[in-house]
Symmetry: C2
Subunit: 472 residues, 2 copies
Amino acid sequence: MGETFVVIGGDAAGMSAASKAKRENPDLDVIVFEKGEWVSYGACGMPYYVKGEIAELEDLVAITPEEFREERNIDLRTHSEVVGIDREAKTVTVERSEANRASEPRAGRNDPRANDDGTYEQAYDDLLVATGARAIRPPIDGMDLDGVFTFHSMERAREVRDIVAGDAAERPESVGIIGGGYIGLEMAEAFDARGLDVSVFEMLPHVLAPFGDSIAETVEDHLREQGVSLHLDTLVEEISGEQGRVAAIETEDDRYSVDSVLVATGVAPNAELAESAGIELGETGAIATDEYGRTDDPHVYAAGDCAEAHNVVTDAPDYVPLALTANRAGRAIGATVAGDPTEVGGIVGTAVVKVFDLEVARTGVTDPEVAEEAGFDPVSQVVTAGSRAHYYPGGEPITVEMVGDRETGRLLGAAMVGEEGVAKRIDTVATALHAGMTVEEVQNLDLSYAPPFGPTWDPVLTAAKVLSGKLE
Amino acid sequence: MGETFVVIGGDAAGMSAASKAKRENPDLDVIVFEKGEWVSYGACGMPYYVKGEIAELEDLVAITPEEFREERNIDLRTHSEVVGIDREAKTVTVERSEANRASEPRAGRNDPRANDDGTYEQAYDDLLVATGARAIRPPIDGMDLDGVFTFHSMERAREVRDIVAGDAAERPESVGIIGGGYIGLEMAEAFDARGLDVSVFEMLPHVLAPFGDSIAETVEDHLREQGVSLHLDTLVEEISGEQGRVAAIETEDDRYSVDSVLVATGVAPNAELAESAGIELGETGAIATDEYGRTDDPHVYAAGDCAEAHNVVTDAPDYVPLALTANRAGRAIGATVAGDPTEVGGIVGTAVVKVFDLEVARTGVTDPEVAEEAGFDPVSQVVTAGSRAHYYPGGEPITVEMVGDRETGRLLGAAMVGEEGVAKRIDTVATALHAGMTVEEVQNLDLSYAPPFGPTWDPVLTAAKVLSGKLE
């Protein structure tokens, strides 16, 4: 009899692990429990579905449940929530939803350990916790009013789209977005495209905090040009309602009438299941893992938005819940479980977001406080350069903030913004961070040049050149 | 009295060196001799000037002669050709053109060593040879016919533009381009935009030889779709004429009527001046240099299109005459001469070219023969992936060929092609090459992801992932 690899959670990390493990070791029994209906979906595409650029929610699905079952021979059990882990017995307790019991008699049917309450136990040899993250619910009144949305599941995305694309009579005319992070700003673009008046409320002095002030200011100017009302440094105290429906956002000083609210105040790791089984969490609140994605239990792995990763710049655990990290860690864990020990790889915190016509990107450590905490003496430089040769038509300015360490000259990170050529330019910096390059080494990179694609000295090189002079 | 830094050649390398040297050490006398009229011009922009996307030839000039003279205090002498170097006496012999003698009495006027033939001697403490490259003239008949152009000077660019943008009666209707390299293909786009019938003749089996067959085939399909006639594997034997004008291109098997011809069969370094002074040339035919851009004479430097650079992948001298290398080496030499020894930095051979709607890029070593010569056992992998998330509208396929070394797993190079997102994606690979990364390390890079800008696994990561599997 083969060994059993049990995966909790059927999105990026979970399904990558399941697929890789089964492909590398077909004798392995691979069972995935997913509490919802959707697996392997591109959550990052949800704003564009709401916006209307993607026709069907189903388009976001990379691989269907049927394909996982039939083609990849994975025992995928949807509507099945794992509610407990017994690490001593090496079992998980599974609760089937009503939908599951009605439609899927198969799951658990051969299991002699079915419990009286309808749950059942499933034994594992190796276990992956890939329970993802959830939208944070801020502690303010009015969260349960009609017209208040959070945005962290496919079901919610469909709901929001149905409302904004629905009959004019029922459609909200305005939306207050609480939170000026990635999702808040992507959704600002989506709602604006749907004709809503959009206001963004951010309690920090700037939107997109991880990108730094210089970059954020460019984004803020652009948002205002697009007609978005920005309320920075503004704490929302309450969502007030009338007859059970959203009526206004109340801040310390003011009251803003809106007829819908999106709460996008960040995500938190779903680490409770692991924690309740006594698995160690890290300082970030996500599940602590080693270089193989293993928790402090050698038979229990964690990956994706519920787990920490290793930041190679700070050489410390970090929590950056993004898709590529989840995919890669899942895949590596799948290989390890199948018998080919594979490191999940470190991260440098690279991210990119589209905000209306802007590309906004970051990588590494740019926040001076974070840099100092990690033992660096950060020096920052902001430069603006063209996205094309000065004489080639259609170029747009790109603003780059680059940060290096005064003592060692080492590159620590960068953020940039512009209307073209930003998203993939950040990858040059990310690669240099992985290599531990100095700013001077970055300045000497032999990057591509042709007039339609950049100036002779690429903006990244110019930033490194100026920063390098400052570090001397 | 300060020391004297003499620069031969007033384009990218020369003017970068002059500017940097003077800025770092204002006491230095910096004299630049330029045999033509133009300095510091963007030769890479010439095809777009002919195409009509750039209005004036002067737009290509980054800094005017007046700015160099007045603002940067550089003694710039145009229409002044250096015809000899006496390394023992540490002087150069300068020949002034007619235009110079008429308009610019200043140059040489205070020099007591003016010779009887009108030339004069200029002493130097340090000398930079930045004499550039020239278009190769293939040894075929008909090169002197009216309607035959080469393309390696601003004057020629203006001539070509005047002809293709001129009166319809005198305008050629067709052009045969001999040579399917960068310039040939950029000019194919320019001529096509001007309404000419364009045929490209390439003696090798594919266009863009340094990009490899897989990439070239995509480019060739695209050229044909644009209506360009391609004649590959075809040696031009003669340009035949009638009454002194181009009439046809003659190949071994055929005769193609054309009424103009562009010869774009590559460039050769202008190394003769240095060679005649006994300075060592490298195997490539360009001037050999060390890590500071110094020739075998410690007071004579060489940079730009006349000089070799150090390829960090092959760890050997290489000749890749491109703008960034010239700028950077010039700048480093300027700093060194000013008293701050600065290495010119190695290259990895990164290049990008726009061919109609395609972006075509390369870096490192992708040619198996070159790789083997450098002691590698090259393994290649071609993958095609999307430029955006599969569900995000407007994505285009990107084809990547990536090459690694079987024994060490080291990344050797890559080439790629696609309608968007290629030009700057190659820089990720270039950066990894500078860092000496393995293909597996590339696979583990934390690159940026958002649906509008790429799939979760960037095409570079996917290529590395598949190649990595092949290398195991």
